[in-house]
Structure formats: structure tokens, C-alpha cells
């Protein structure tokens, strides 16, 4: 989906392409309306410029026309609403999140992202939990469930390439999910002004194959237990 004229970041989540295609649908609709309006505008400006000996038409409007374009606009926004609702719920409504997958805790604080992994046993609050700073390691092809918290001010968990954004609000635990479709390194950013270090509140998302990820978890857990033993 490389489009030289549209600098969308690479799209690597399962719902990303659906968001992008809705984006392009809206681009088409608004594009047509835009061209229509601007062309008419310019056409009228040229055609109806003041000329010697011609008087403007004395008209106060046309109710039928007005009803038509009001109805047409309603139809368009109705369609947009209809097209948006299911996708919105699929991304944001916890009841519709896919089951299973990896669970992570992400805590934002000035100006860092703390990611807590449940470790090998898959449960939080046990000895093999481990934490990463400004680094989100995940497996490809598996739903990743995140519980977002913030310690101080509001931050916003922003994964441009995954088309995901969710504020982290102190005092709240906000669930979010996504699923990577590709391995590689991607961007984790903060999208809500959170103080003087906001601009550098950046992390990396590292997507590995499931096997590599398992190995990585094992290795991290060992590091962790070794540290604890020391």
C-alpha cells in the first residue's frame, strides 16, 4: 500500500488496514464534496462576475434544492456513522476484544513507559514478572492485551504503525489491545502533552516471531531470577 502522495506510516496491526480503508473511504467522499464545492465556487466566480448591463437574478432561494442537499448530507453522515461503529467497537470496546494472547501492564510516568511482563507463568504478581523501560516486546500474530496506567499526569500510548492510541489516565486502568501482523521494530510515542520531557517520551516496539519471543521471555526471566539471587 505504498502511496507516494499519502505519508501514512507502515500498517502492521490487524485492525490497521480496516482503519486505513475507512480513512480512504472518507477521503473519497470528502474529496468528491471538496471538488464539487470548489469547482462550483470557481465556476460561479468566473461565470457570474459583474459585467456591464447585466443584473443579478432576484431570487431568495429554492426550497426543493435545499431539501435535496440537506437529505443528501444526512445520507452521507448516516453512512459514515454506520461504517464507523463496528470498527470502533472492535478496537475499543473491551467486551469485544479477542480472547487469549499476551497480557501486559503498561505504566506511563514522566517521561517513561514501563512495561511489565507476567513472565513464564503468564500471571502478574509472581516472582518471574519482569519489567522493561521504553521497550515493548511482543510476538507477531497474537493479540496483545494492555492495561494502561499512569502515575502522574495524563499520557497517551501511541503506536502510529499499529493505528492505536489510548490515553493513560492517573487513577484509571484502561484496557487496550492490538495484534501485530509483521515482525520488526516500530515506534511507541506519547501523544498527550505531559510536561517538559513529553517530546522524548519515546519507546520501541519490537515484534518478534512467536518462537523468538518465547525464547526472549525465558531469557529475561532467567536474567531476572539471576538478579534476584545475587
Amino acid at each position: 500500500m505504498e502511496r507516494w502522495w499519502m505519508p501514512l506510516p507502515e500498517d502492521v496491526s490487524t485492525f490497521g488496514p480496516r482503519i486505513d480503508s475507512l480513512f480512504f473511504t472518507i477521503l473519497w467522499i470528502t474529496g468528491i464534496v471538496f471538488v464539487l464545492v470548489e469547482v462550483l465556487l470557481v465556476y460561479y466566480i468566473v461565470k457570474y462576475r459583474a459585467r456591464e448591463g447585466r443584473r443579478a437574478i432576484f431570487s431568495h432561494g429554492n426550497t426543493r434544492l435545499e431539501i435535496i442537499w440537506t437529505t443528501a448530507t444526512f445520507a452521507i453522515v448516516f453512512f459514515l456513522g454506520l461504517a464507523s461503529q463496528p470498527l470502533w467497537y472492535a478496537v475499543k470496546e473491551p467486551a469485544r476484544f479477542p480472547r487469549g494472547g499476551l497480557e501486559l501492564n503498561v505504566t506511563a510516568k514522566q517521561f517513561e513507559w514501563h512495561v511489565t511482563y507476567p513472565g513464564l507463568d503468564g500471571r502478574f504478581g509472581t516472582a518471574d514478572d519482569f519489567e522493561k523501560r521504553n521497550e515493548l516486546d511482543i510476538p507477531v500474530g497474537v493479540p496483545v492485551h494492555i492495561t494502561l496506567r499512569a502515575e502522574d499526569v495524563i499520557h497517551s500510548f501511541f503506536l502510529p504503525q499499529f493505528r492505536l492510541k489510548q490515553d493513560a489516565v492517573p487513577g484509571m486502568e484502561i484496557p487496550a489491545w492490538f495484534q501485530a501482523t509483521k515482525t520488526g521494530e516500530f515506534v511507541l510515542g506519547c501523544a498527550e502533552l505531559c510536561g517538559l520531557g513529553h517530546y522524548r517520551m519515546r519507546g520501541r516496539v519490537i515484534v518478534q516471531s512467536q518462537e523468538d519471543f518465547q525464547r526472549w521471555v525465558q531469557q529475561q526471566t532467567q536474567v531476572r531470577t539471576a538478579d534476584a539471587a545475587r
Binding site: F58, G61, T73, L80, V187, A191, L196
Partner: protein
């Protein structure tokens, strides 16, 4: 239905020998025209301040880390060696938004034109409460000075964005700003009183002081727009004031309304702020829509297309504007089901905006268009507002807002509606009513140069911001090159900055034209644009008390090119020509 007796008793007052002292006449004046002009100078000043702040920001965004030319004067606390610090950048973003919205656009639209136009266009000698009106201006001034002074206090000015989200705005340890953040609250609380006094005045005046024959559906559209705007101000500002007070308590006496400790709610601030904030954005556009409608009809020499629909659309916006605030909070952690609801209401509110746009096109259709400077700016308003409205559709659709929220796409959206819309509307209005205000015409050539350059550089500055947002560039970002995914678009940032400087420089033409025309402009006739509304029946500039004889209104405001008139306009106060048909009876307004 009774007919109205013509006011034979209405005599020419002794308007001519005005023996007020200089201070009563120009400084502590109760004359709505002087107050309007005072607001004009104040808000143009803050417009320049806001613009300067924006230029400074663009320097950093275009060339992060490079010393600002002449940046040494900022001092080491803000920009050591001329390179601005992130905390200063945050202050700039915050104060740019705050000045532009509260101290430039809002007073330009409302403070200036509601004051200047309402009495003149409805045929009244002044506002209902002239002294309250004076108090309104003299309350706005200290609020502005306080905001300005906050740059100088230790810790600098507020730096939590114009939306001032708590807890960042509430706890000095989080933002690094102590006094500045408090001054921000106080200044806006004070400004709220100013707006409130104005709103009470405008509403009462429109309801009670219309000249005989000026029925609701003969009101010029600027008056309708300003009336509805005043209602929005009246009802929205107190919500902001309440929220600001709570925030101020959190900052100063240690309450926790918006802090999570002890069960306070950070999202409560956002709900209160946007419950005010969305009506506020319509406060920032409705008056411009009114001015543009007036000027388009005048320039096209045609009645406005669908006057009732124009009024109806504004009324619809005024109602719907209260139930859409959540579209600013789609990503805030608010219940997604609420988000779904707010999307629907937001999409619905796009309909009246569309109706207005189509009606403006309808007004041009079949016209005989004169391209005077006000008309050019009004045409620009229509074409740019369309872009702003359409980009609104992207962010209103919740799934698409997920990547776009809090990015430069939103920045592009707000500048297409607020600069492309409101500010072009303001340029149109200033150039159109300048002759009435000051009795002189503005220079047409300079006006055209300013218009074309502004139009070009505006688009070159703000259109690419859509693309930057799509590329994932967050707003309020001190240094975009920190992010790998933004490094490829850095040339676009430079491009934007260059054009922003050119856009800024272009405004000097306007400033020059304004000041020059004030003293040297061609003398204006009473009715230079051959317009219909009542202000053009008064001398240019109108004397204290406005009309020598209370005008009587016989018809709607947009009877351009009426077959009843030998010329292509037909003022509202011109008595009907003797015709075979029985003279129309004048129904009192409001029935």
C-alpha cells in the same frame, strides 16, 4: 395586527455638539462604537502577539536545536544560547492557543463586531446597558495584561496547553510552572466576566432595541449570528469559570477535584472543559459566518440564498453544539459506548454546516459579483471553511480519529476553521466595515495584495499539516526529529516553517494598510458598498447616538437587485415607492 404610527415626534437630536471630554469620549467611553474600536485595537494587538509566538515555535519545529536569530533576548531561563528549552516551547504552544482563541479571535468576532454592529444594524442609538458595556472592555484589558505578564513571572507562563488538562495543569511539580499556571486560570476567570457582561448586553439589545419594523426575520445575518453566539457565551462561559475555579483551588489550596488522589477525577476537567469548549468553537465561527453571509450577498448583488435555512442552521448548531463535546475525548478513556454516541451527534452537526456552505454557493449563483477586498476574503472563507469542515469528518469518525487524534491533522483542522474560516471572515469584516468605523476607505490594492499572499501562504503553511498528522506527528511536540517515523517528514516541517514566516510577514501589509488608511485613506461616503442594512444609513462614522432619526424598517436586509428598485440595492429603511398596490402595513416585530 396593528400598524405602526410613524414616529413624527422623532426629532433630530442635538447630536452634533458632542461636549464630552477626551477621556469620556475615547477611553472610558460608553459609546458602543468606541468600545468596539477599543476591542479592535486590543485584539489586533493580541493577534500579533499570538502570531509572533507561533513564528517562534515554527523556528524550533523547522530547525530543532538551532539558535533562534535574536533569540538571546529571551534569556537563559527560556532559551540558553538562543536555543529554546522544551519548557519554553510548551509555554509558547499554550500561550499561542490561549491568546489566539480567547484574546484575539473571540474579541475580534464578538467584542468588536457585536459591539459595533448590533446597535447600528438594528437601528438603535446604543446598547441596552452602555456602562456595563464599558465595564466589559475594561475587564478584558487587565485579563489580557495578566496573561501577558505571566511570561515574566518565575517559572514562566502556563505550559499545559490551551486545554490545560489536569493533573499536569494542577500540580506545579508535574509542569514545572507555578505562578504562571495560576495566572492563566485567574486571567480567564476575569475574561469570563467580561464576556458575560457583553453577552447580557447583546442579548437584551437584540431583543429589546430593534427599530420599528425590524422583525426577527428582517434581521441582518450578522445580528442573528451574534445573537446566537451571545447565547452560547452566556451559557458556556460559566461552565468554564466553574471548572477554572475548581482547578485554581487544586493549584492553590490543595483540593483534589481533578487529581486521582482521594478519588478526584482527571477526566472531570476534560468533561467540563469540552462542555464549554465545543460551544466555544462555534462562538469562534458563527459570527464570521454571519459577516460572510452579509458580504457575499453584497458582493454578488443578490439576496442571500435561503435566509430561513441560514438562520435555522445557526439555531440547530446552537442546540446540537451542547451534545457533542465528547468528540474531543474519544481517546481519553471515556466509555467507548459514549464515544459511539458522540460520534453520531458530531456527524449530525456537520449537516447544518453543509447547509450553510451550499446556501453560500446558491447566493453566488446568478449573481453579478464584484470582487472588492471584503468579497475576496469572504470567498476565501467559504472555500477554506469547506476544507475545515471536511477534515472534521475524518476526526469525527471514531476509528479514523484513533491515529489522527492529538496529531498535526487536528492542528490542520483547527487552523482551516479558525484561520481559513474565522480569520478570513474577520479580514472580510474589517475591510468591509472599516469605512463606517473610521470614515475612510482602506487601500484596495494593498488589500488585494495582502489577500492573495495570505491565501497562498495560509494554504502552503497549513495544508501540509494534514499530511504531517497522517504521518503520525503528534501535536505540541518540541522536537519531531526525536522520532524515527518522523525523520522522513522533517523537510515538510521546514517547508511549513518557511511558509509560516512568509504568512507572518504578509500580515505586516495588513497592519500597514490599516494604520495608513486610518489617517490617509480616501474619505468614505455614507454607503460605499451600496449596501442595504441600517448602518449604511448613518453617517460614516456615525455620531454618538448613531441615527439622526430612528430608522423605520420596511423590508429584509438582502433585497439586492430587486425589481422594485431602479438601482441594484434597496436599503431596509427606504420607504416603499408609490405603487398601485396598497402600501404594505408594518407589523410590529415579535408577533
Amino acid at each position: 395586527m396593528s400598524t405602526i404610527a410613524l414616529p413624527h415626534e422623532a426629532q433630530a437630536h442635538a447630536l452634533h455638539h458632542d461636549d464630552r471630554s477626551f477621556v469620556r469620549k475615547y477611553i472610558f467611553s460608553t459609546d458602543h462604537k468606541i468600545i468596539g474600536i477599543q476591542f479592535l485595537f486590543m485584539s489586533l494587538f493580541f493577534l500579533l502577539v499570538g502570531g509572533l509566538l507561533a513564528m517562534t515555535m515554527r523556528w524550533q519545529l523547522g530547525w530543532p536545536g538551532r539558535p533562534i536569530p535574536g533569540g538571546a533576548i529571551l534569556g537563559d531561563a527560556k532559551a540558553p544560547g538562543g536555543v529554546m528549552l522544551p519548557e519554553f516551547y510548551n509555554a509558547l504552544v499554550t500561550m499561542h492557543g490561549t491568546f489566539m482563541i480567547f484574546f484575539a479571535i473571540m474579541p475580534l468576532l464578538v467584542g468588536v463586531f457585536a459591539n459595533y454592529l448590533i446597535p447600528l444594524q438594528i437601528g438603535a442609538p446604543d446598547m441596552a446597558f452602555p456602562r456595563l458595556n464599558m465595564a466589559s472592555f475594561w475587564t478584558a484589558v487587565p485579563a489580557g495584561l495578566m496573561m501577558l505578564a505571566s511570561f515574566l513571572v518565575a517559572g514562566g507562563s502556563a505550559g499545559a496547553g490551551w486545554t490545560s488538562y489536569a493533573p499536569l495543569s494542577a500540580v506545579p511539580e508535574y509542569s514545572g510552572v507555578h505562578t504562571g499556571q495560576q495566572l492563566w486560570c485567574l486571567s480567564l476567570i476575569i475574561l469570563g466576566f467580561s464576556s458575560l457582561m457583553g453577552a447580557v448586553n447583546y442579548i437584551t439589545t437584540v431583543i429589546n432595541m430593534r427599530a420599528p419594523g425590524m422583525t426577527w426575520f428582517r434581521l441582518p445575518l450578522p445580528v442573528w449570528a451574534l445573537f446566537i453566539t451571545a447565547i452560547l457565551i452566556l451559557l458556556a462561559i460559566p461552565i468554564l469559570t466553574g471548572a477554572l475555579i475548581l482547578l485554581y483551588f487544586d493549584q492553590t489550596i490543595g483540593t483534589t477535584f481533578f487529581l486521582p488522589a482521594n478519588g478526584g477525577q482527571p477526566l472531570l476537567w476534560q468533561h467540563m472543559f469540552w462542555f464549554f469548549g465545543h460551544p466555544e468553537v462555534y462562538i469562534l465561527i458563527l459570527p464570521a459566518m454571519g459577516f460572510v453571509s452579509e458580504i457575499l450577498a453584497n458582493g454578488a448583488r443578490k439576496p442571500i440564498f435561503g435566509y430561513p435555512a441560514m438562520v435555522g442552521a445557526m439555531i440547530a448548531i446552537a442546540f446540537l453544539g451542547w451534545i457533542v463535546w465528547g468528540h474531543h475525548m474519544f481517546m481519553s478513556g471515556m466509555n467507548p459506548v459514549l464515544g459511539g454516541y458522540f460520534m453520531v451527534s458530531t456527524l449530525v452537526i456537520a449537516v447544518p454546516s453543509a447547509i450553510k456552505t451550499f446556501n453560500w454557493l446558491g447566493t453566488l449563483w446568478g449573481g453579478s459579483i464584484r470582487f472588492h477586498v471584503p468579497m475576496l476574503n469572504a470567498l476565501a472563507f467559504v472555500s477554506m471553511f469547506v476544507i475545515g469542515g471536511l477534515s472534521g469528518m475524518f476526526v469525527a469518525a471514531t476509528p479514523v480519529d484513533i491515529p489522527l487524534h492529538d496529531t498535526y491533522f487536528v492542528v490542520a483542522h483547527i487552523h482551516y476553521v479558525l484561520f481559513g474560516g474565522s480569520l478570513f471572515g474577520i479580514f472580510a469584516a474589517i475591510t468591509y466595515w472599516f469605512p463606517k468605523m473610521f470614515g475612510r476607505m482602506m487601500n484596495e490594492t494593498l488589500g488585494k495584495i495582502h489577500f492573495f499572499l495570505t491565501f497562498i501562504f495560509f494554504n502552503l503553511t497549513f495544508f501540509p499539516m494534514h499530511l504531517l498528522g497522517i504521518a503520525g506527528m503528534m501535536r505540541r511536540l518540541y522536537d519531531p526529529t526525536q522520532y524515527p517515523h518522523l525523520q522522513p517528514v522533517q523537510p515538510m516541517n521546514e517547508f511549513v516553517s518557511v511558509n509560516a514566516f512568509l504568512l507572518g510577514a504578509t500580515q505586516l501589509i495588513f497592519v500597514f494598510n490599516f494604520l495608513w488608511s486610518l489617517f490617509k485613506g480616501r474619505k468614505a461616503e455614507t454607503n460605499p458598498w451600496h449596501a442595504n442594512t441600517l448602518e449604511w444609513a448613518a453617517p460614516s462614522p456615525p455620531p454618538h447616538g448613531n441615527f439622526e432619526v430612528t430608522p423605520i424598517v420596511y423590508r429584509g436586509p438582502y433585497e439586492y437587485s430587486s425589481p422594485d428598485s431602479p438601482v441594484d440595492y434597496l436599503p431596509q429603511d427606504r420607504p416603499p415607492l408609490e405603487r398601485p398596490s396598497p402600501a404594505p402595513t408594518l407589523a410590529p416585530a415579535g408577533n
